[in-house]
Symmetry: C2
Subunit: 351 residues, 2 copies
DNA sequence: GTGAAAGCGCTAACAC
DNA sequence: GTGTTAGCGCTTTCAC
């Protein structure tokens, strides 16, 4: 990325005009020869408008290129058909799949979705929560970045919200989760069954619920197999770089692991890089199972065993719950848990 | 994903209150014993307000949990510190990297970014353009989904916009591109130099400029090497599924390709799957170069040669141009072209 | 330095 | 059915 070259040249004069006056209801009303109220009614499809007038209004609006002013409308209506989705990493396919699920459901009922990237930072998350409140969105779906998320503000204002992938501590909100602890346990049990002896775990930061749960499931399985709890656990940010460091550290131990449970696909990239650098062959020297069935997982050498999570469904369910809560703020909150699926490939088959 | 199980249960009563009245400037004013005008001035950091009063106002605002009403403010100010970013695929790492670039620059100057996913559909793109106009965003950055994008609306209203990754046909707007034709030419020349004979190309839909350019660069290289233009070209949507079909089709030809130029990383996944299914070994039987240096590219077997594009920089530059245009609508539009870099790995080394 | 008042564009009462 | 009017919450002249 260092040897970029850049051409910068002007391509002429720009057609953007500052003075362009934006037409309003009054302009449309004047052109159609009716009142602003009629314009509003006609354009919003209210049935109490004479069809002829409505047609005249629509034509006038078209001719003027009228587009309603959203902020004004929302100010008046005291509500907007917009939901905010705050996720912790736009570059993580797991979260973008959630986003697709949310989008599809929201669009079906005419809601827009604005995507906010909290970048696993509680600070940015709070900033976006404030923005969501200030923009008076109808609801918020979020995957909390840490244990200290301050969604209390949302509750205090009566803004609907749903937690996705990670629960909100001390909040009885709607929540959609994956049974990730069980999945981690099954994945670890699979590694044990394959005869691996020193199974390690690379998971996310303490306080991030999915990271804690995956670690707990890993320990469940070791305990059930009467292994002593391993010292081969590393916790780092949910990204390739952190996992890369963690894997190098583990490989440098006097008794390095012969298998690893990895808590997401970005981390899997870091671990695989580290193994490559150290000349350790995945599958042969070190068994691997990673969370998230990334599109490339079956293409690496050897194909990577994964825990496939229903990310799209997670988003879709969260969106439905949010819409339900917007419609009825008094409904009792629900918790939904979706199952994950272990896909066994060559990276976890004992040679 | 079929064998999901779902637990649905109530977790108690929800704390969301519908009646919660949201405090306004008037409430703050009353509590601080000043006028609404002073509240506004104090909260916006205007220097013409007595420090003591300002402190009182801030305290009152805190106590009430006051959050300004965004739509109302924007309505009054006739502008919002928000830019819309319309990209054609949120699940494509290339575009999410662009998004990060845009975000980082925008946040530096206090702008928010709303991300819209047009899903390579001109229809959705237009829908989002309408929404952007209606929400009266300060500007729009978009990667047009097709040749018929109707950004004309933006120009007509005087809304600032910048095209990223793909130009807008017939618009002299600001634009930030990658010299993708040259990159494709270099990648193809590299395959030729390695001694591959029947080099094919899997690229995106006709009318999508990057797809056309990559194809053109490919042909440039063949022509320069005095090869007759190959019939081994397939065009499909910019996704794994389309590329998968295209690759299967190419492999079934009487004279199948012995090398392929692939127009993005999602397509590379589809091609690699197809090769795997047919027992064709990448690198040995078929040389490969793909656009986009996905994190996993070096991890597949053999490591994938790629054309690395400066996606983050693309977004960052686009954001800077947009901010400049918002500040000065009359400035002449510029075109910026960034270079790409060929990274040669084993998938394109002739055995 | 501060307050009173107007008004951004729209919709929803309320008249007619 | 349609028009008149008030007002959503905020900022910003304009007086003082």
């Amino acid at each position: 990325m260092t040897e970029l070259w850049v051409i910068h040249y002007s391509t002429g004069y720009c057609s953007v005009r500052k003075g362009a006056r934006v037409p309003t209801v009054s302009d449309v009303a004047a052109r159609a020869g009716v009142s602003t109220a009629t314009v509003s009614r006609a354009l919003n499809g209210k049935p109490t408008v004479d069809p002829d007038l409505a047609a005249r209004v629509r034509q006038a609006a078209d001719e003027l290129g009228y587009q309603p002013n959203g902020p004004a409308r929302n100010l008046r209506r005291q509500e907007a058909a917009v939901v905010a989705l705050i996720i912790s990493d736009v570059e993580n396919p797991f979260f973008t799949a959630i986003a697709r699920g949310v989008e599809d459901v929201a669009h079906e009922v005419g809601y827009s979705v604005v995507l906010c990237n909290s970048d696993e930072s509680v600070e940015k998350e709070n900033r976006y929560l404030d923005i969501a409140i200030q923009e008076r969105v109808a609801g918020v779906i979020l995957s909390p970045s840490g244990p200290t998320s301050t969604v209390a503000k949302l509750a205090a204002r009566g803004t609907a919200y749903v937690a996705v992938d990670r629960p909100l501590p001390g909040q009885d909100s709607d929540v959609v989760l994956v049974d990730t602890r069980l999945a981690a346990r099954e994945a670890t049990a699979h590694l044990i069954a394959q005869g691996y002896e020193r199974i390690g775990c690379v998971t996310g930061p303490a306080g991030v619920r999915t990271a804690d749960d995956r670690l707990a499931g890993y320990r469940d399985a070791l305990k059930a197999a009467r292994r002593r709890t391993s010292k081969l656990v590393r916790r780092t940010e949910y990204k390739a770089a952190g996992a890369h460091r963690a894997a190098l550290d583990l490989l440098a131990q006097p008794e390095p692991p012969d298998a690893l449970l990895i808590a997401n696909s970005a981390m899997a990239v870091g671990v695989l890089q580290a193994l490559q650098e150290r000349g350790v062959r995945p599958g042969r020297d070190v068994g691997l199972v990673a969370f998230d069935d990334a599109p490339w997982a079956a293409l690496v050498d050897p194909p990577l065993s994964v825990v496939a999570q229903p990310a799209y469904e997670l988003g879709a369910v969260a969106a439905r719950l949010l819409l339900a809560r917007i419609a009825d703020p008094a409904r009792p909150p629900t918790a939904t848990t979706l199952g994950a699926r272990l896909i066994k490939r060559a990276s976890s088959r004992r040679p």
